[in-house]
Each structure stands twice: as C-alpha cells, then as structure tokens.
C-alpha cells in the first residue's frame, strides 16, 4: 500500500524545481537578449566598417585605371568599364569580391569616375578627376535595429527597404546591408615632383652637396624667376625606390625617402626621413605624331632647327636619327626673333653626343622637349638655356625595346638648367659649370652626381612635364 504523504513531498520538490528553473530562465533570457542584441550590433558595426573598406577600395580601383592610362599604348585602361571618363561622361565600374566580409559575405564596390570641366587646371590644362564610390556589405542575422537609436542614426543601415536612393549608383537593393559612399578628387602628379628620384641607387658622391628648392613662379620664392639663396625653400626632396641613398655628406632642404632602405652620409635633413617610399615611374613611349617637320632627319655637325609659335604643330616636331656635334660646332634651336614663347619637340631615335667645345643653344623663348632612345653624352659647353628655366628644357628617355643598358651623361662647362626624366637610364650629372650648380630635376634608373655642389629644384616643374601619377587631394564621405 502506498502512502499519500509521499506524493505531497514529490509535489513540493517539483514546485521548488519549477520555481528555480523559472528564475534561472528569467536570468538566462535576459542574458541572451542582452548578448544577442550586442552580438547583432557588433556584426552590423563590422559590416559598416567593411563597407568603408569597400568604398575606399573603389577609389583605389579608379586610380589604378587612371594610372594605367598614363602608360604607353596599349595600356588597357578602362577595359571592363562602360566609358572613358570625361566631362559629363561617367565611367562606371562594378566589382564584387566573394567571401570578403565577416562571415564570408561578398563585398560590392561600385565606382563612378568623371572629369568635370571645373576640375581642369587652367595653368597647364591638367585634368583632375572625381571618383565617387559606393561600398556595400550584406548584414548577417535578423534585420533588426540596434538597442540604441544613436547607433541607427550613425550607421543608417538598410534593413528592409533601401534607406537612401542615390541615382548615381545601381547596385543597392532592399536586402539588409550596410553601405558607405565616398567622393575623392585626384590630381595629376608631375614626373618632376621631386628634386631627384632614382629607381635604384642614388649616389650624390662626396661633394657636400646642398639640395634645396625655389619656385620660379613666385616672387617670394625666387628673384625674377631665378634661384635666390635668400629665398631658399625646403622642398628639395630626394627619393629612391631602392634601398640606398649615398648622400655624400649632403645637406638636404627637404625630405629623404627610401624603400625600406638606408641613407648614408647625410649631414642635415630639414624635412623627414622616410623608409616607406615607392613610386613606379611611368615609362615613356615613343612619341606618336601624326605629322612632323621632315628636315633634317639627322644632325651631324652645326645646324639650326626652328621652333614654332604653335605648340604641338607639325613644324615644331622633328624626328632625328641622331645628334652628333663636336669641335666648336653648335646646334641652334631658334625661336621667335622677339623672344616670345616658341616650342620644339625632338625625337632622337639614336644617340645624342655633344663633345669638344660644341654646344646646344636654345634661342630666347624656346621651350624644348627632347625625347631620346639612345645614349646621351653632353659635354663640351653643354646646353645653353638662356632664361635659366628648367621648364624650358625637358629631356625624356624613351623606354628601350631591348635590354641593352642606356645612359645619360649630362655635363659640360656651362650651367646645367634642365629636367631629366629617364627611369630606364643610368643618369650621371657631371659638374654644372664652374660653381657646380644644377637647376632642375633628375629622374633615372640610377642617379649619380659628380662635381655637383648645389642642386636647386624648381617647384614650378611639379606643374609641368608628363603626368606620372595621381594623388588624392580631397576625400569626403557622403553621409546622407
């Protein structure tokens, strides 16, 4: 026979058990609610941050295409995009990267690049570009808002219906996602943005060289457009893509940069010393001109070439197989008699040699660009640049089609005033006249200076020459 009080005791235990479980469940529910909500917030915040990475990657994608467009054809710039950007023409690109986000979510990057007319620099005609990008990341988990309304105000997530419709972009939809929109403006960077750039070794030798800058456009930074030590500026930056600068006890009024390398023999640097430098120089392609001035086809002895008042005209363009002068011979590039600006472009497919006491003479007002595919050896009396403006004599080394080493040797007993861009050439600057002063900028595969005591970089060069890169000058997040 079973006794009834046994059943009552069981009921009491059951009651206690249920009570304790109920209390623990309340705690567990509260903990779960708090934790899951915050976990959700964490995931949403992560997606929001990843969307920024996506949007910034879009800027990178646009800049990559712009840089590709600087290379000699065929450069395949804008392949896969719907347009080449222009004024009123938006180039649109869309990239999806699978498994890029937390939880294996795909990253969507949408880029629009255009070239508004307002962004043309009137001083040199250079076009700045506007890049507008959208980065978006899907939200994982249930589409619910955060505990705190302030989080919703900050991140502006799309949970059920697309929160903001921007007609510029097409990839957003109603699916839960975080998105960020950026606008960046990039400006062209000149090949002559530094006083000296070497792809490999930069050797200034042991001449206690002083490197500084002036700005021939600014009376506060020059006198009558010429270097004035009293108005010395501190933008004489030197850099190498390699890992060694042998500065030879140099005094650099500017920054010194290597690619994870070292600088030896620097007595003083007014700027900063960096080791994170790398700038891929854009190679120079053979000039492609629809028509040229056919005569002469070569220069071998004294000669006169005539510049034209019209920049880029056929009469101002010459294709020469070589320039070779020696003894007391001269190559005169004649400008307008009144000294007004005139232009000439030479493409020398062979070597350039100035020897003995020979000299290349630029006429008053002449602005010369000399492209060359062979070696350049300028000695003798060098090149007479009468206005002493580096912008007036730009030397470009065309990318060789073979592996034979090329060199540029720039010297002579006259003052050297020029800008050299020859990233595939070993460049040597010798002397610089009786006082060893050189005015301009030098870019070479290797750069060595011998007998040069002063290098004065003209900051005006940064707005001339070929475009070598694009840099961001404005960055705004559109937070609508």
């Amino acid at each position: 026979m079973r006794l009834t009080f046994h059943s009552q005791e069981r009921g009491s235990v059951l009651l206690w058990t249920v009570l304790v479980i109920a209390i623990l469940s309340v705690f567990a529910t509260e903990v779960l609610r708090a934790v899951s909500g915050r976990f959700q917030l964490g995931m949403q915040a992560a997606a929001w941050q990843e969307a920024l990475i996506a949007a910034e990657s879009g800027i990178d994608l646009g800049v990559v295409e712009l840089r590709k467009s600087l290379y000699p054809a065929p450069n395949h710039a804008w392949d896969g995009w719907n347009n080449i950007p222009g004024n009123g023409v938006v180039s649109h690109g869309l990239v999806t990267i699978p498994n890029a986000g937390l939880g294996g979510t795909p990253m969507t990057i949408e880029v629009n690049v255009d070239a508004p007319a307002q962004l043309v620099d009137p001083s040199n005609g250079w076009q700045y570009y506007r890049l507008r990008t959208l980065g978006s990341m899907p939200l994982t988990g249930p589409p619910r808002i955060a505990f705190n309304k302030n989080d919703n105000k900050l991140r502006k997530l799309t949970l059920r219906v697309q929160r903001f419709i921007d007609t510029l972009f097409t990839s957003e939809g109603n699916t839960p996602h975080a998105s960020r929109r950026l606008e960046a403006i990039v400006k062209p960077v000149s090949s002559f943005g530094l006083a000296v750039l070497a792809v490999s070794t930069l050797d200034l030798n042991n001449q206690n060289i002083v490197i500084d800058s002036f700005d021939s456009r600014d009376p506060a930074k020059s006198t009558n457009g010429l270097y004035d030590v009293a108005k010395r500026q501190e933008n004489g930056d030197i850099a190498t893509d390699g890992n060694l600068i042998q500065a030879g006890n140099a005094h650099v009024y500017g920054d010194v940069a290597t690619n994870s390398g070292t600088v030896t023999g620097v007595s003083n640097i007014s700027g900063v010393q960096r080791t994170d430098f790398y700038q891929a120089p854009i190679p120079i392609g053979e000039p492609v001109w629809p028509s040229i001035n056919p005569s002469p086809a070569t220069v071998n002895g004294s000669a006169t070439l005539t510049a034209s008042a019209t920049e880029g005209s056929a009469m101002s363009r010459y294709r020469l197989s070589a320039i070779s002068i020696s003894g007391s011979q001269t190559l005169t590039i004649a400008g307008n008699p009144d000294g007004s600006p005139s232009y000439i472009e030479l493409y020398v497919t062979g070597n350039i040699s100035v020897a003995g006491t020979s000299q290349i003479i630029l006429g008053d007002g002449v602005k010369a660009k000399i492209y060359f595919s062979g070696n350049v050896d300028i000695a003798g009396k060098g090149v007479l640049n009468p206005a002493n403006q580096p912008e007036d004599l730009l030397l470009y080394g065309v990318q060789p089609t073979d592996t034979t080493p090329r060199h540029v040797s720039l010297g002579g007993n006259g003052q050297i005033t020029a800008a050299v861009y020859a990233p595939d050439y070993d460049v040597t600057v010798n002397g610089g006249g009786s006082d060893g002063h050189v005015f301009g900028s030098v870019v070479g595969k290797t750069v060595a200076m011998t007998g040069v005591t002063n290098l004065h970089y003209d900051e005006a060069l940064a707005a001339s020459g070929i475009i070598n890169n694009y840099e961001i000058v404005s960055w705004v997040e559109d937070t609508r």
């Binding site: 009080f5 304790v20 209390i23 705690f27 509260e30 903990v31 708090a34 915050r38 917030l41 915040a45 929001w48 508004p116 307002q118 962004l119 043309v120 620099d121 700045y128 506007r130 505990f147 705190n148 302030n150 989080d151 105000k153 900050l154 991140r155 606008e183 960046a184 403006i185 400006k187 961001i472 000058v473 404005s474 960055w475 705004v476 997040e477 559109d478 937070t479 609508r480």
Partner: protein, 192 residues
C-alpha cells in the same frame, strides 16, 4: 498511564519545525544572496557592455568626421573638427572647384563646416556649425574622450568608469576600459 499512538501526519515537534525553518532560511538566504549577486553582476556587465557600445559609437562618430577633416582642435571632452562644406542648401553634394594651389574646395573658397563634439550634463553631443546639437551618447557623465593630434593621424581615446565594485573603479581599471582609434586624416592637414 497509557500513551496515545502517534500518527506521522499529525504535525511536527517544535525542534523539527525550528530545524526545518533554519534549513529553509539558510537555503533561502543563500539563494537570495546568489541571485542578488547575479543580478548585480548582470547589471554591471550590462552597464559595461552598454558603455563599451557607447564608446565605440563615439569613436566611430569621431572617426567619421576626422577622416574628412580639414583641421582638428581638441581638449578633453571637447573636440572641434572642420570638414569640407560638401552639401548645398538642399542637402545635395556640391561640385568641387580648384583652389589654384593644387587643392579643391566645396562651396566658396575657404568655407568649411565646423563640427563640435562635447560632453554636457552627462550627454555627449555632436553639433554642426550652429545647428541643433545631436546627442550621440546619453548617461555618459563618467566618460572621458581625448583626441590627440599626431600630424597625419589622430588618435582618440575614450574611457569610462565600470561599476563592478561599489567602492568605485581605480584609475588602472578606468584605463583598462579605453577604446582607442587611430584615424588617418585623408585630407592631410591638422591644427587650427
């Protein structure tokens, strides 16, 4: 004298009742203390998590404006950031213009929008120009946020007082709550 038979269900003796009450009290007290401790712990943890979430939000807000900053000025719990004047009166983005010095501007040359972050009456506000302040974190009187200008980057540090001890938090514990953020100034310049 004849003894009456006892039935088990007729009741408890005094000492049995007292022992049962003592055991019940001890168990109840233990449970109550446990639950109270749990509750306090839950409250402190929730508070910590809430504060941490607030700190992250403040950090994200600051970083949002610092990335596009033209200049930054800061003292403890008071940071002023100027950003480009990107939107027109209708709230639409403006077309940029060249400034003639290698840069661009929105609106008129030299114009900008000032954004101020400050702590007032236990609330951290974000205020744009002279507009209505927007609360970005509430009940944060114990928060301290500092923005340090390091040139091309700025760092933000946000701390609060956790409530795990009734005696309060030591400075070391407060420092342990710090949320740091280092932001690259995309527009390059700092300083007022």
């Amino acid at each position: 004298m004849m003894q009456l038979p006892r039935h088990p269900s007729t009741g408890f003796l005094l000492y049995e009742t007292m022992i049962a009450m003592a055991i019940f009290s001890a168990i109840s007290l233990g449970l109550m203390m446990g639950f109270t401790s749990l509750e306090r712990n839950l409250a402190a943890t929730t508070s910590f998590a809430t504060n941490h979430t607030d700190a992250m939000r403040i950090s994200d807000y600051l970083a949002l404006d610092l990335r596009r900053a033209l200049s930054v000025q800061s003292t403890q719990n008071d940071t002023r950031v100027t950003i480009p004047d990107y939107y027109d009166a209708n709230g639409d983005p403006r077309t940029p213009q060249l400034d003639g010095e290698g840069g661009v501007y929105y609106g008129s040359n030299g114009s900008s929008v000032q954004v101020r972050y400050y702590l007032f009456n236990g609330t951290i506000y974000r205020r744009q120009n002279l507009g209505t302040p927007v609360a970005i974190a509430e009940n944060v009187s114990d928060f301290v946020f500092t923005v340090t200008d390091l040139g091309k980057v700025v760092t933000t540090k946000i701390t609060f007082k956790p409530r795990f001890r009734s005696s309060g938090a030591s400075q070391a514990v407060i420092d342990g709550t710090a949320v740091y953020n280092t932001t690259l100034l995309r527009n390059g310049s700092t300083g007022g």
